[in-house]
């Protein structure tokens, strides 16, 4: 018996392009709707039902989601597992906190310095008096640190688990520095931002907090759009190629070092912005909150839970894990850590592609077959619509 193979017709490019354009505008519309919901509807609802405190939590978690986008870029797309992104988060957070500490005293030496007998403001604090400088420093300092660290690491072809260990070691170096230097940055006590004036009111004032909430939403949308643009073009394909077979990339004539330095720097800038927005909404930044190893590992967990290399998954995972933590630790303070461990384990073992990854793959197929649709074609049409294979499928069902 001869097997007839049905080859798929090659779809005209114009049709493909028209469909891609439709999906693009659909996504733009969805993002705008989500942003408007977050900006206008959700805070109003939460305030109306007397859950105003949740708005602040949501704002902080949205800030964390910006950092998660960076983790997804570097880990999900490029395959570099960084366990030290707390460094960049803290650098951004401290930059803004230093500016606000100075504002609290109208540009004078902050109070805590007198505890350690420091009467003159350390020189590196001076430029943080200026708001424009601070706004640039929030993302530029993490970027420069990432370029320096990344260049040395990637140039020497440090990869895989060695890269992870190295970033974690760097994190501990930063932690010890920030934690130990009372006379420079108040050491383990961290920097307070809540009592400082900003936008003409105190930073802890609801009006200022509403602005920070809105800024978190805006930067999350901008960050998402930027990452989406970056990963959908040729750059995104380069990153995937580096993740899947880096030596092959070299023999194709590319130097992967610069691509990796670039993506490391972008993710550091995102973490810096996240750190600044998180700090002003928390009211304080300390070394143990921002530079602990646990915090940097948690960032990775958010992305793993949501789904690597999906971007949406990074945001979704961050909100899910953090709200789960908040709600569960309010109800059952003793067992939250067990929940977190169970969540991570079950995602790794049952949904290795994360929640969004599952929804896009098996979940989508399941939904289609539940509503009576055909199982979507995953391999060749010639294979899946093969009459023999179809016959086998029909007859092996019962």
């Amino acid at each position: 018996m001869t097997v007839e193979t049905i080859e798929p017709a090659v779809e005209p490019r114009a049709l493909v392009r028209a469909r891609q354009r439709r999906w693009f505008w659909l996504e733009v519309a969805l993002v705008i709707v989500c942003a408007l919901l977050l900006l206008l509807v959700i805070p109003a609802i939460l305030n109306a039902v007397g859950q105003g405190v949740r708005v602040n939590q949501l704002g902080r978690f949205l800030a964390l989601a910006i950092a998660a986008l960076g983790i997804d870029l570097i880990w999900g797309y490029t395959g570099l597992l960084s366990l030290g992104h707390g460094i960049f988060f803290a650098l951004g957070g401290y930059a803004l906190a230093m500016h606000l500490e100075l504002q609290a005293k109208g540009g004078g030496t902050p109070d805590f310095f007198s505890l350690y007998g420091v009467t003159e403001l350390p020189a590196f604090w001076q430029p943080f008096n200026s708001l424009p400088f601070t706004i640039i420093a929030i993302w530029l300092i993490p970027t420069l640190v990432a370029i320096a660290l990344g260049y040395l690491v990637f140039r020497n072809r440090i990869r895989g688990v060695y890269f992870s260990i190295l970033t974690q070691a760097a994190l501990i170096v930063f932690f010890n520095f920030f934690n130990g230097q009372q006379k420079l940055i108040n050491g383990t006590n961290g920097l307070k931002t809540s009592t400082s004036p900003i936008f003409g009111v105190q930073a802890s004032d609801p009006r200022a907090q509403a602005i920070f909430y809105a800024l978190s939403v805006v930067f999350l949308v901008l960050g998402y759009a930027f990452c989406r643009w970056l990963t959908s073009g040729r750059m995104g394909r380069m990153l995937v190629a580096i993740r899947d077979d880096e030596p092959r990339v070299r023999f194709s004539g590319y130097n992967p070092t610069w691509f990796k330095v670039f993506v490391f720097a972008v993710s550091a800038a995102l973490a810096g912005i996240a750190g600044a927005l998180f700090t002003v909404q928390s009211g304080i930044i300390t070394p143990s909150s921002s530079l602990s190893t646990a915090f940097s590992i948690e960032m990775v967990i958010w992305v793993a839970v949501g789904g690597r290399a999906t971007l949406v998954g990074a945001i979704f995972g961050t909100l899910l894990v953090n709200f789960a933590r908040t709600l569960l630790s309010e109800q059952f303070p003793a067992v939250w850590l067990f929940f977190q461990g169970a969540l991570f384990l079950s995602v790794v073992t049952i949904l290795p592609n994360g929640i969004i990854g599952w929804l896009r793959g098996d979940g989508f197929a399941l939904a289609r077959s539940l509503f009576g649709g055909r199982h979507p074609i995953a391999t060749y049409p010639s294979l899946e619509t093969d009459p023999d294979v179809e016959y086998e499928r029909q007859n092996s069902r019962d």
């Binding site: 073009g233 040729r234 077979d245 194709s252 004539g253 590319y254």
Partner: protein, 250 residues
Amino acid sequence: MSDKILEIEHLTVSFDGFKAISDLNFSLDAGELRVVIGPNGAGKTTFMDVITGKTKPTAGKVHFKGKDILPYREHEIAQMGIGRKFQTPRVYLKLTPRENLELSCVRQKNLWSALRGKASSEERRTVSDLLETIGLTRRADIPAELLSHGEKQRLEIGMLVAQSPDLLLVDEPVAGLTDEETEAVGNLLLQLAETHSIMVIEHDMEFVRQIARKVTVLHQGTVLCEGSMDEVQNDPRVIEVYLGKEDEDH
């Protein structure tokens, strides 16, 4: 001198005292199709590693188009015009054949051109012509991980050509292919040989007979003999180390 595309003199590579290649001399004319054969452990793959910059030799000279290429790294040598196909097909599995070819085809391989992103219409035409040549037009937009082994082999050869190198190094292109596919790859290589210099490493003697004009036999890291297929096959030393054993196996 100038019509030699590749010249290698007194090349020695040793790993912890073990000489994978010892005092090897080799040269390839521009436009030549050469097949390199040799038993396992003869140093064939190490030889390619040296030419492409993956392994640095202990001693010796490697000149490509008259230029010493030993100080350069892999991507620089690739940009100079040496393309390499690996033993097992190495394509980017999560990308489609079209995207695989586009990545190889781009002329400006730096960060900025990757950020600017769009393929020029000329590049798009090159890619679709190549897809036609390697027979993957209908598979152009599915992930490469779904391709069969033979299709991946052809795709990787396509990626090599997309780089438009002057010299193609092809390591066992027909390993694991059916007879039909082997012949298709052979014809593809013969077609490419009209415009490129090619060096093929191969085990499959049927295939070597199909494409070979001149054959080099490596043994224990050095050149045992060189000549046409007939000359090599009748050389008693070659029969002893290589072909003789093959015949016993059959």
